[in-house]
Symmetry: C2
Subunit: 305 residues, 2 copies
């Protein structure tokens, strides 16, 4: 099966206690696609400026990611920079230059329209909805959002996620969206908004998957060294939806195996953990599927009782 | 098998977003013993003042807890009061009156000396060591400590835990003891200090068990309502060591099943979660073993993939 991902492709400036990078490939769409590419044929829809480097294009293409939907326009690529606290649980944004991303109007190449899996990265909800409407045979669709859309574009966001199979957000976003601190109650409020599946990411503390009749919880993978957490949540998303695409998972046929969703959460956690091991997207230059499956097996060993 | 627990028996004043209690039964030893009593014959060593109520004695005795080692002396029982933040992840201590606990010299009744399981609750390390030395046939011993002993009584603490099978502390205490932020590295440093098993509690985020050759991780049980977290960590300890005592777990015979330790962590998590459902020790007035085993089964269901 194949997957379409929309979102940001960017350059990041990152400082963590382990070091600093002035300018390195980043953006949610980049991380999601790199992560998903280990599982399934992945195509992206994004925009970059004239400064987008050939070597960065080559990294994505080298993973088999289709770049037919990567538009290059006059101007500069989205730039973000931030600095992490000593324990890396907090980060401060230093700069956000939207550049060409400010006018992003996703254009879906004709070759993408009939693909079955769709992940709508964090962009304006109405744009997410436009893309979904251009896809003709989607069988599993969902995405991410952020505090800004939840607070300032609430109605637009609700009208968008109403038509999603899954929503994948972090715990503070879930609390904000549901207007409820308790995560269990917040989750049930969100399931009333449309998505039948809700995945809540909790960073180093793991993740949870909620459906009306089930709950799945996984602790975070405990790394010896967290080098740079940038992109970990997006890599989680890529592993989650990438695995389901690989498996041809079909929520709508009524006979799906809920454990496939659980395994997708584990693969998400695995991909998020690898992402943290090096700066930016560096880990994906060497990461292999064998390493991924080995860590999946470790999760089984480390959680068995 | 049977278990001896030493530590504090106290009265607590508690305020959470759900309400307030001026004075209710508390103390680490109380919570540990109540929790362990669902699994094994439990005996306590503690001290209370003249104000200790007959009904509180009756609650413990009603669970089959042996009170032969509960000394009653002139003066007042240890009193602690605190108030929780809105999200209940932080609490502020309002008052700590050690009272009779200030001069606590644990006296082990002769009937306790040959019991095989020993949990040394958070008291001065040298007193923990004295008690351990009075026990003649211990086959599994360990306990808890706190930031005060870690910072101000470090050498005494190290000399004490050197002879323990397990140490059960929270994540900030583990980081402080190891002088290392990364929990995986911190755990290995602590395993070098003596205990062959380290359990790290992470509150609502679950717990982890480390041994030299293995790691076990469990997410926190997701409650619909957290009423009062007081004592949850101690109830975890009671479930952990209580279950191992029930099973006659014997680390020293070399043929033990490491999954028993994992299941003990799950029972610890189960007991901690029940503790939060009502104020103070209230939940233990009605809790049954059937409910406990049902929640254990839920943990299995919620973490299977």
């Amino acid at each position: 099966m194949s997957l379409v991902v929309i979102g940001s492709v960017a350059y990041d400036g990152i400082e963590t206690p382990h070091g600093k990078r002035e300018r390195t490939l980043g953006g949610a769409c980049t991380y999601i696609a790199l992560s998903a590419s280990y599982f399934t044929q992945t195509s992206i829809v994004a925009v970059v400026g004239e400064d987008f480097a050939e070597e960065d294009r080559a990294l994505l293409a080298g993973k088999g990611v289709s770049l037919d939907g990567l538009e290059q326009v006059p101007g500069k690529t989205f730039f973000w920079s931030g600095v992490y606290s000593d324990d890396m649980n907090d980060r401060t944004t230093l700069r956000t230059d939207l550049n060409v991303f400010a006018d992003f109007q996703p254009k879906l190449p004709r070759s993408y329209a009939a693909q079955p899996y769709l992940f709508l990265g964090n962009i304006q909800p109405s744009l997410q909805r436009d893309v979904q409407q251009q896809m003709t045979r989607v069988r599993f669709v969902g995405g991410d959002t952020m505090n800004y859309w939840i607070s300032d574009y609430r109605e637009e966001l609700l009208a968008t996620i109403k038509h999603w199979d899954f929503l994948l957000i972090n715990d503070s976003e879930a609390r904000m969206l549901a207007k409820e601190h308790n995560l269990r109650r917040a989750a049930h409020k969100i399931l009333d908004m449309g998505p039948n599946t809700l995945v809540i990411k909790r960073g180093e503390y793991g993740a949870m998957l909620f459906r009306r009749d089930t709950l799945f919880m996984v602790p975070g993978y405990l790394l010896e060294d967290v080098f740079d957490p940038t992109g970990a949540g997006d890599c989680f998303a890529g592993g989650f939806v990438g695995y389901l695409s690989e498996r041809g998972f079909d929520l709508r046929n009524g006979h799906f195996d809920v454990h496939e969703l659980h395994r997708a959460v584990i693969y998400g956690s695995v991909m998020g953990s690898f992402c943290c091991e090096q700066f930016g997207v560096e880990r994906f230059r060497t990461l292999t599927r064998t390493e991924i499956d080995k860590r999946f097996a470790e999760f089984r060993k480390f959680t068995a009782f």
